[in-house]
């Protein structure tokens, strides 16, 4: 009995020791990797720069002092356990959180050098530049055509020919054209979930934004549709800055160039995607991506 106890104790010590060792090792790695990311980022143009940003929901802090740069024409993924503030951060980029009562912020977020919370910023203009795709497909109860044309009509464009061209181009851009070209006047709700989500992406790219925010765009879809959406996102990053929230790490690995790991409202690690997944320099990140989290 006593012998067993001692053995167990020894084991515990060993575990503690080894984890301390890894941590020391990680700290060493940290500096090296950080420099590598910085060097890589130095070659990128910054699209969105978040500095010391905090957000409170009626006094409850949801984002804690986040600093982050999102490079232009790259895909950046936010990963992290549910409730860690990924959506909250994403929704700051197009000021969607303005709609929620009691939200207060500190710090700033700059889009191409301009503070998006500045008084002189027109929120509607900002949202034209920063498009968004939501978790559940949310097409309007209108025809497929009208869904894609919506943003143009909002901008007061009436010329049928212009709209026709943009609708076709956007649907092609969202890899949906061939599937819907014969039924543009049908209600969008008749499409499958995956098609609806691609329609929503087409709707977003129709107004030629600079940034597209995607909040778990494939989480409500079947695997085949998910794959299609991923391919689409992969293709879109040539033209747009992509920020994608996902809880699916394979997805993040497949589509993104950079990945941010968040936990409890804090940004734990921001890294080049391949490094983050193969050689994370924070213990918490490693725990999370190897599934030891929680």
């Amino acid at each position: 009995m006593a012998a067993e106890k001692i053995e167990k104790y020894a084991e515990d010590i060993a575990v503690t020791e080894s984890s301390t060792a890894t941590r020391t090792h990680a700290i060493d790695m940290n500096n090296i990797v950080d420099t590598a990311v910085d060097m890589k980022l130095a070659n990128e143009k910054t699209c969105i720069a978040v500095s010391n940003f905090s957000l409170f929901y009626s006094g409850k802090q949801a984002l804690k002092n986040i600093s982050l740069t999102i490079p232009e024409k790259r895909a950046t993924a936010f990963i992290g356990p549910s409730g860690c503030g990924k959506s909250t951060l994403l929704r700051c980029f197009n000021r969607m959180n303005d709609l929620i009562e009691g939200v207060t912020t500190a710090g700033n977020i700059k889009l191409e050098g301009n503070d998006i919370f500045d008084k002189s910023i027109n929120v509607a203009d900002l949202r034209r530049r920063v498009g968004m795709v939501f978790q559940k497909p949310n097409p309007f109860p209108k025809s497929i055509y009208e869904n894609v044309a919506y943003g143009l009509r909002i901008q007061g464009i009436k010329d049928r020919r212009t709209i026709d061209t943009v609708v076709e181009k956007s649907l092609r851009g969202a890899a949906l054209w061939d599937e819907v070209k014969d039924r543009l006047e049908d209600l969008a709700m008749g499409l499958s979930g995956g098609q609806q989500q691609r329609l929503v992406i087409a709707r977003a790219i129709a107004i030629e934004p600079e940034v597209i925010l995607l909040d778990e765009p494939a989480s409500a879809l079947d695997p085949v549709s998910t794959l299609k959406i991923e391919e689409l996102i992969y293709g879109l990053k040539d033209k747009y800055t992509i920020v994608i929230v996902t809880h699916n790490m394979q997805q993040a690995a497949r589509v993104s160039d950079y990945t941010t790991y968040m936990y409890m409202g804090e940004m734990i690690e921001f890294n080049d995607t391949s490094t983050l997944f193969t050689n994370p320099h924070k213990k918490m990140t490693e725990d999370y991506i190897t599934g030891r989290y929680g």
């Binding site: 709609l99 949202r127 498009g131 497909p137 097409p139 309007f140 109860p141 943003g151 909002i154 107004i207």
Partner: protein, 552 residues
């Protein structure tokens, strides 16, 4: 045994029975009500056979000949029948429509079953439907046409029918001239008078200005003269013809054909003839003006007035209610005050409607209407134009009566539009107003229409407030006609609900009015059902479109 009952109670069966029972009672009541008014109302237009018989009101008294339609029968206690001389504890008696009000003073009488003898239905018994004094029942003797006296001729009946058809065509022409042409001239004359008065009030009545008016007036006068000349010749042709007939008791009567709408011999009519006649009469009921203090003729002005008022009300109440609901739900901060407003709006729906009538009379008619008259129509004073009950004020009063329903329904619809859809629109750079206008409001239309359905159903059936703010027993002209500005919001109008009350309770001729009350009630119910069904169909097709979107 005890456990059996307990089992039965536990099974929930009694509750199911109770529910089913309640539903059946409701269905039976609704169907029964509609069936009752349908049977009572629709039977009125059927050409019943004319009975001719000898009648003695006591066994030993001398009998006289009577003719008429049997309308109703009942068996009553002796005393209630006025202790007649016939034997029996209870007495069977019939309600006979004898017509000939101009001769006997009454056109309905109760007769005792025991006194009827030698009842026959002769083929030549004739009904003359007249423009005045109600129906005449008798036998045709002769026809006076173009100064000739036609008698005992095999083609006498055909000649008479033909003459009446011709006469009616002339009559319609006269009515058209009187109502539309001369009515239009009078309307323009009145306008000229007001214009002159206006000039006087503004002290611009210079000879030049007046001259223009005088010229117009002379032109109108000329047109008027030519119309009256036409009318005179038309009246002359009408009045030249007449018919003579004998009543059941042998009295000879002469009736001018200008007073006759139609003649028919129901006993000689075949079933298809009767069916045809029935629909003709029913059509007349729907499309004609009322006659004889509303107890005869049609109810077209009442149908027209009801529909017009409901439409104007809908046009007012929908935008108003929707805007209020949008503000309450989308823009106002949700706090104690908005809650209080919401409670107040809901309670407004429960205020007795006559209170709205009083409010409408005091505020709309006297205050608003009076001010409008002073400001814009000083020339027609002291006769008020808008400072008197009328179509506009009635519609407005009903609009405030029904606006809570529209607000509540629209708010409910707005709250059902999912957040995701709104965010989707905002994320595309739409402002809040654009999102509302292009996405949220279209998705709310089914709810708005639901509100409108409830509002229309309530407004079409209201009577009490209307009696104060615009409904009359008999409106000389419709709210819409050929005189500019075509829609006359200041006019008084007739209404089916009020018509029921008026015919049923204010009529001097109760028996004649009764079937009309049922027929009008049926029509009002049918009208409301039609209005509702139309709205429901529109709503359902819209709802189909938005259902899928509401589940996101």
């Amino acid at each position: 045994m005890q456990s059996k009952i307990k089992n039965w109670l536990d099974s929930g069966a009694p509750f199911v029975w109770l529910n089913a029972g309640a539903v059946s009672v409701s269905v039976v009541m609704v169907v029964g009500l509609i069936a009752l008014i349908a049977v009572r109302g629709l039977g009125h237009f059927w050409p019943s056979d004319i009975a001719v018989f000898d009648y003695a009101f006591a066994p030993d008294s001398e009998s006289s000949q009577l003719m008429g339609e049997f309308i109703d029968e009942e068996t009553v206690l002796r005393a209630r029948a006025g202790n007649p001389a016939y034997a029996g504890a209870t007495i069977k008696r019939h309600l006979l429509k004898t017509g000939n009000r101009d001769i006997s003073g009454l056109d309905f009488s109760w007769i005792l079953d025991a006194g009827i003898k030698h009842k026959t239905y002769p083929d030549d018994a004739m009904v003359v439907e007249r423009r005045e004094w109600g129906n005449f029942y008798g036998f045709l003797n002769s026809v006076q046409l173009d100064g000739h006296n036609l008698q005992n001729n095999a083609t006498l009946w055909a000649t008479l029918e033909q003459a009446i058809t011709q006469n009616n065509a002339v009559f319609d022409e006269i009515r058209y001239i009187e109502k539309n042409l001369i009515g239009g001239i009078n309307y323009k004359m009145e306008k000229l008078r007001l214009k002159e008065r206006e000039l006087v009030l503004k002290e611009e009545n210079t000879p030049v200005n007046l001259q223009a008016l005088i010229a117009q007036r002379e032109a109108l006068q000329l047109a008027y003269n030519s119309h009256t000349a036409t009318l005179e010749t038309l009246y002359a042709t009408l009045n030249s013809a007449s018919l003579t007939a004998t009543t059941a008791d042998g009295q000879a009567v002469s009736i001018a054909l200008s007073k006759v709408i139609r003649v028919y011999r129901p006993n000689a009519m075949s079933l298809p003839d009767k069916v045809l006649f029935y629909f003709e009469k029913f059509w007349e009921f729907l499309t004609d003006d009322p006659r004889e203090a509303n107890t005869e003729g049609g109810i077209f002005p009442a149908i027209f007035g009801t529909v017009l008022m409901v439409i104007i009300m809908a046009v007012i109440v929908t935008p108003f209610g929707v805007i209020a609901a949008v503000y309450l739900r989308e823009y106002a901060t949700q706090n104690l005050i908005t809650r209080l407003i919401r409670i107040a709006v809901n309670n407004l729906a429960g205020v007795p409607s006559v209170v709205y009538g009083v409010f409408g009379l005091g505020f709309f008619v006297y205050f608003l209407g009076g001010s409008i008259d002073q400001l814009f129509f000083p020339e027609s004073l002291p006769a008020p134009k808008f400072g008197t009950p009328g179509l506009l004020w009635a519609s407005l009063t009903l609009a405030i009566l029904t606006v809570p329903v529209v607000i509540v329904a629209t708010e409910e619809g707005l709250s059902r539009v999912p957040r995701a859809i709104r965010e989707g629109s905002l994320a595309l750079g739409a402002t809040k107003a654009e999102t509302l206008w292009r996405t949220v409001l279209p998705m709310t239309t089914p709810a708005m229409i639901t509100g409108l359905i409830l509002a229309v159903a309530r407004a079409a059936g209201e009577v009490a407030p209307l009696m104060l703010v615009g409904v009359v027993k008999l409106a000389p002209s419709l709210g819409v006609d050929g005189n500019a500005p075509f829609l006359h919001l200041d006019r008084k109008f007739m209404h089916l609900g009020f018509h029921i009350y008026d015919v049923g309770f204010q009529s001097p001729n109760v028996e004649a009015a009764q079937p009309l009350v049922y027929a009008t009630a049926l029509l009002l119910v049918v009208l409301i059902i039609i209005l509702n069904l139309t709205a429901i169909r529109i709503r359902n097709s819209l709802r189909e479109k938005y259902r899928a979107a509401e589940q996101t």
